[in-house]
């Protein structure tokens, strides 16, 4: 009996896996697809720009792959078919330009840190220094990921030392701990707080200006649609792109 359950579950899983992805092949054969690899924090703004781009270009579809910048870098290094790469930091972009996998990148947005607290701010956090209060559950990103490195630099420039209860893998993990109120406070980007809406409260702090995160975008060198890719890049850099990015909380480059 039990074995039968397990087999049925495995078969169902496999069927599910092989089922997805195969539906849209060959539906409209002549459609050109621009594949954009972008840092997860760009999801909201880029989805909107993608639709705008599709409206302006008949028969062109924009497909996104949103993930952590370093994951995207390894995917592109592994030969994933990307046309455009937008990174959440310069270090990851440099990994690709150093290998000549991406052409000359341009800066299109900036982002700074903000304190995220659960709704109602139960721990009464008001300043950056409050995050060092004993007994406060502070969650930040691990120093090896960009948001964690930024948090560390902010602490250094403010002359304080964080004692987090957890150093998470990604901004999303930090936000989830704050949303579930397991954490009293977390350090994430302004845009993340904005995207989370009413689930978290945001507290700006002046020290954030010392650590500004820069977002570069570039066309992947072996792109099959280099012209369209360059056009998408221009959309992001242009007035339309900039005003959409501003809506989502990004700063000017």
């Amino acid at each position: 009996m039990r074995r039968w359950y397990a087999t049925a579950a495995a078969v169902a899983l496999l069927a599910g896996l092989s089922g997805c992805g195969s539906d849209d092949s060959g539906a409209e054969a002549e459609e050109t697809t621009v594949t954009v690899f972008a840092a997860a924090s760009l999801a909201g703004a880029f989805e909107e720009l993608g639709e705008e781009f599709e409206d302006d270009h008949e028969g062109v579809e924009v497909e996104f792959n949103f993930a952590g910048s370093s994951d995207l870098v390894s995917q592109i290094q592994g030969g994933a078919g990307a046309d455009v790469f937008a990174s959440a930091d310069e270090a990851n972009m440099e990994k690709l330009t150093a290998e000549s996998l991406v052409g000359t990148p341009e800066t299109f947005a900036t982002n700074v840190l903000e304190i995220a607290v659960p709704p109602g701010n139960p721990a009464g956090v008001a300043t950056l220094r409050d995050l060092t209060k004993p007994g406060l559950n502070l969650v930040i990103c691990a120093p090896v990921v960009p948001c964690g490195a930024a948090a560390q630099r902010v602490a250094e420039s403010a002359g304080i030392i964080f004692k987090p209860v957890s150093e998470e893998q990604s901004v999303t993990d930090v936000l989830n701990k704050v949303i579930s109120a397991e954490a009293d406070a977390g350090l994430v980007y302004v845009t993340d707080v904005k995207a989370a809406g009413d689930d978290v409260g945001g507290i700006e702090f002046p020290e954030s200006a010392d650590v500004v995160n820069v977002y570069p975008i570039g066309v992947v060198n072996d792109s099959e649609n280099a012209d369209l890719a360059a056009e998408f890049m221009q959309l992001v850099l242009g007035d339309d792109g900039q005003s959409v990015l501003a809506e989502f909380g990004f700063g000017k480059p």
Partner: protein, 262 residues
């Protein structure tokens, strides 16, 4: 051993069997081929790696003990009694086997988290489970327990209750029967169940990162450390992966030897 079989296997069966074996073994070889041996020792003896390994071994051991304490009685009750709703209960208890671990983590969060079902009770007692090593143990136990229950229940059913009935008819109390007859009879199943639980606890990732967080020496077990190292230092991640593979193989080898002796 195969040559002494009276009935031969159909020849074609070796083809898919070999393909399956290659499918499992090739990725292991791929890991080994990527290890940069020059730095291997330095990479696996860094402070963060050792902390992660030590934490993993400790938490997995405690989780396995918890699995034994709760899982052995569960398996015995499921195998040796009948009550209404038993099949349903069995399926539900085994749910963590098929649940994605992240879902397990979310479920644990809503149970033991600060705003969870039991969270306020713990808060009143001054206990905080989230972000503690306890949370890691809970996550591991949650996902590992079904492995012990499944293998032990299977062993109990295969063994049957013949000897238990005889022992009882000779005047042994239920506890004596359980201790002197049932347990020794299913010891191999118990050992392999415990080893499976330990291995599952050792590899636990999703529930831990969702529920317990990630802090060196407190909640960052070896799988979490590997995932984090991958962000920056692929070599370290590969080296640590190999350590995890070796530990897992040692556990399995130990279990096989244990079964042979018993």
């Amino acid at each position: 051993m195969a040559s002494t079989r009276a009935v031969g296997l159909p020849g074609w069966i070796y083809v898919p069997a070999a393909a399956g074996a290659v499918f499992v073994l090739l990725p292991l070889l791929a890991i080994i081929s990527r290890v940069s041996w020059g730095e291997f020792f330095d990479l696996i003896t860094s402070e963060s790696s050792l902390d992660a390994l030590w934490l993993s071994l400790r938490t997995s051991t405690v989780s396995t003990l918890l699995c034994l304490v709760a899982g052995v009685p569960m398996a015995v009750v499921l195998a040796r009694t009948t009550f209404p709703g038993q099949d349903l209960l069995r399926s539900l208890v085994l749910l963590p086997l098929v649940l994605p671990p992240v879902v397990g983590g979310i479920a644990l969060l809503y149970t033991f988290g600060r705003r969870g079902l039991l969270g306020e009770t713990f808060e009143l007692l001054g206990l905080q489970i989230a972000f503690s090593t306890t949370a890691v143990v809970l996550a591991q136990t949650f996902v590992a327990l079904p492995f012990l229950v499944v293998s032990l229940e299977g062993a109990l059913r295969t063994a049957g209750d013949r000897y238990e009935v005889i022992a009882a008819s000779l005047g042994a109390s239920p506890t004596t029967v359980f201790r002197r007859v049932t347990l020794p009879l299913v010891m191999p199943g118990l050992v392999s169940g415990a080893v499976l639980s330990f291995a599952r606890a050792l590899g636990e990732f999703g529930a831990t990162i969702t529920f317990a967080g990630s802090l060196q020496g407190v909640t960052r077990t070896l799988p979490l450390e590997i995932y984090l190292q991958r962000e920056t230092d692929a070599d370290a991640a590969v080296a640590l992966s190999l350590v995890l593979v070796v530990v897992a193989m040692a556990v399995i080898g130990f279990a096989r030897r244990g079964r042979g002796v018993l």
